[in-house]
Symmetry: C2
Amino acid sequence: MNWKQLFPQFEPELIEVIEKEAVQRSFNAGDIIMRTGQYIKSTALVLEGQIKIYRENEDGGEFLMYYLVPGQACAVSMICALQSHTSEIMAKAEEDTEVLMIPVQLMDDLMNKYKSWYQFVIQTYRGRFDELLSVVDNIAFRNMDERLEFYLKRYTDKTGKKIIGLSHQQIADDLNSSREVISRLLKKMEQRNMVKLHRNMIELI
Amino acid sequence: MNWKQLFPQFEPELIEVIEKEAVQRSFNAGDIIMRTGQYIKSTALVLEGQIKIYRENEDGGEFLMYYLVPGQACAVSMICALQSHTSEIMAKAEEDTEVLMIPVQLMDDLMNKYKSWYQFVIQTYRGRFDELLSVVDNIAFRNMDERLEFYLKRYTDKTGKKIIGLSHQQIADDLNSSREVISRLLKKMEQRNMVKLHRNMIELI
DNA sequence: GTAATGCTGTGATTTCTGTCACATTGTGAG
DNA sequence: CTCACAATGTGACAGAAATCACAGCATTAC
């Protein structure tokens, strides 16, 4: 696939270098790409698919932070790579996913040489930071009904689809809630004509 | 004061430039340093005092994200400055505070020329990102009692003091809770011999 | 078809936290 | 000292959400 379209801001020489040095890699839906405590040796640019960035608690709860979609990069891996720290989060391929892995050694070099890369990194930091902020906002200030609405909206915004192919249980996990609560709230939303419920699928109206 | 000791990692030329170009500024306890929606024209290095970074909700609730203490810098202002975006958070001087303001125009230059500045910026991003992550962890997975313990611990860790000079109301605000709840939980902690309560002051044991 | 399994719906109950109401206590101003 | 006020203590109640228990339906495997 032609990945350059996903990163139109990159200057030609930068694209060349990446093309030469980066490694393309595929993950199947469900693959764990990065886990808590793991050392990072490279940064990933998402080409295709969707990556879920989440935090795991002791009981195995998977609290969703945000999704990475094509054209985005993982801020955490950038930071960790540049400092050889371990990551504090988990990354999982939600669908079959293609990524470009940029080795750590290259990062410093790119930062120095290519303005567009530097810009991209800064922009990535900011984007993820903002997403984290809005996550904090939601759990700090909102009730579950509003959080659920936000969750569904964000999902369709990111993917562009009006159909959400998730079970109530999966949504509950992402919001660190319980299935029953989510089912009830969804039912209420259906009564208010905001969604249509099907098995393993929610249709946003 | 000799601010260089606070930033021992800075190379000598960098220190010179900062000394020449940066402006020192004082804030009184309670001053708002940055507010939501405001454009940022410079980054702040904290020299003395303490800055509270928080998020405000509609009802005026002040939800604490983290504190900045001497030797640290504001990651948000860096990102915003570099992108001329508005900030999404509030910053307030908790005590009388001294900061060094680095103008935006200088930032790009420093990033390119001084490795130690670049390292510092990356490290700042990572530090704040991690703090945000642990905030998310806490509100997502913990009950108020654990969050309170974490809050008190973090406070003493940052300041080095075993004494916390805050009213129950202020703590409740920071945790987006209510005074009564905090009072009760503190009482329980006192019974378990974890703290000693005084008026406007909590002593950690 | 039948059984097994997974997803969804729903009531009853419990726990945590927020809210209201009001009492008590410490502190500083006059 | 006395008054005013801010900080704290405490009981009663309300609401959101978690948990438990179980039923009904779809889908898949056989």
